[in-house]
Symmetry: none
Subunit: 308 residues, 2 copies
Amino acid sequence: MIRLRQLEVLCAVIDLGTTSGAAEALSVSQPAVSNMIRHIEDLVGFPLFKREKGRLTPTPEALHIAQEAQHLFSQQKRVDRIINQLRGGTVGQLNVIATPSIGYVLLPRLITEFTRTRPRVKLSIELGSVDDIIQQLISGRADLGFSITLPRHTALSVRPMASGNMVCAMPEDHELALSRRINVLDLNHVRHISYGFGTPLGQMIDEVYRKNGIERRYFCEVRHTSTALEMVSAGAGVALVDNFALLGVARRSIAVREIEPAMPVALHGVTSNLFPTSHVAMQFQEFVRDALNDPAALAEWGITADYS
Amino acid sequence: MIRLRQLEVLCAVIDLGTTSGAAEALSVSQPAVSNMIRHIEDLVGFPLFKREKGRLTPTPEALHIAQEAQHLFSQQKRVDRIINQLRGGTVGQLNVIATPSIGYVLLPRLITEFTRTRPRVKLSIELGSVDDIIQQLISGRADLGFSITLPRHTALSVRPMASGNMVCAMPEDHELALSRRINVLDLNHVRHISYGFGTPLGQMIDEVYRKNGIERRYFCEVRHTSTALEMVSAGAGVALVDNFALLGVARRSIAVREIEPAMPVALHGVTSNLFPTSHVAMQFQEFVRDALNDPAALAEWGITADYS
DNA sequence: ACAACAAATAATGTCAGGTTATTCGATATG
DNA sequence: CATATCGAATAACCTGACATTATTTGTTGT
């Protein structure tokens, strides 16, 4: 089977007309080319050049071969280009599934930033609960997940991305806005939005109430913090939300206050162990982590993490 | 620039699933493969396999590269084939693949005529279904295809060569021979040979039956019109065939009648866009078109298109 | 006759890609 | 549970394709 390199040399000699010319073009020595040509002729079994008066003129056979070889070269370049693109992460596909609190506003912006330098990446963003995230990842439909609640599943790898807190969001003119810091238990005294007992967030808050022997009471139950935040923004009431949900939202007359006891939360990046994680997916995960830990960068993209 | 061999090894490992398997397939040692994979990973700068539990699973990137590399391999094989043919002392080559109806009788005669003035052209004729034709063309093994069914494939160029009709062929002494023109639906009443539902021809005929709310019934199912014609000629029964299949066959006591509804068919010349079409191939294509549209020329070579 | 150029030859170096022998980790099995 | 099995990796070494430099040979224009 003829080698790629051999065809390369053959074509160079045909194109340039002389071995020395070809040698220069390929940046090798003239004898290297000369030997190679002879070697190929031995290999194929018929002359590729007519040698007369110290010159080489290609035979029709050689021309024919060279013609066909061009496609081989272009194919090789194509493969090489693809490898380069893969290296730079500018090609591939990236299916992300995330909890709405980050996926609703922040993630779309980050992805936009990320793909600004990677125009050929195919994307999809999906929102879902922890269970959805687990499902999509272990089934291979999603490459990367982001979750507040940390999914317990042996087939998943979880990496911490950023740490945050639950905070209290309310309409600007709300009575609670007068306090600098709000006790979680006090929410029982106002119309507020909270999370079902079945949700991880609901259980986390219930834990505090239970310790104090009080029953949690709220007028509206939602599943995701982003939904709660939307309602707060519409003036429906007060809600506890994670600070990630606040990143990037237009501050439409919402006031935000710290709570006590502090309820730390963390954002996790999740990948499946069942399938190899793609290069772009890893890159994007790092991109998100870096972005979340660099308020300056976020600010540059019109996302402020400041809610004092 | 990635080497051909490296891609070869990469693909082998992906296909076979293990380094040892790949090593065996390539007839080299297992460490050779192992080292090569590592070397490629260094070269491209990102992992191609996930190593866990002592096994290798390819990353999406590796799969992507392997996919692209396939074209390269087929190109290489093509060049190699061309060299082999040149070694055999031919200046040109012409590999034709055609549907049997034209390829069985007519094409051999046309090729004979064509090469009368071109002694150093190396030839091959192959018969096959539309799918075979598509496969051979896009893989570069055939230079030119002729098909009744027109192949839908983006990498193929199709040119109409001649138009024709389905006609009804039967033994001379058959009762139907008394009619001047035969209704397709009437075939249900006689022992006749037809085409499977999966074939384009079968679907085309079924369409007529379906419109009339009748189920097509036949005693023998074949794939190609030339086969059907052969059976008719042997006295097995009646069959619908395209008129191209009739061109050039010795009229061994076969009667031919027009049918209603008329079922027009066309013969197409097909070439691949993936490779440059050789000069001979284009010439031959034109030769065939001209011949088919010039009954005088055909008659001169002992081929008659007249079946009145 | 001789400079100028193109190709071929000779002697030698180097590295991609191969070898065998062996180890390591994971899994299957009596 | 000890052990056999299988796949991957590592180490040390070998080989040939393809490169090098130095030199010779043949052709051509002045």
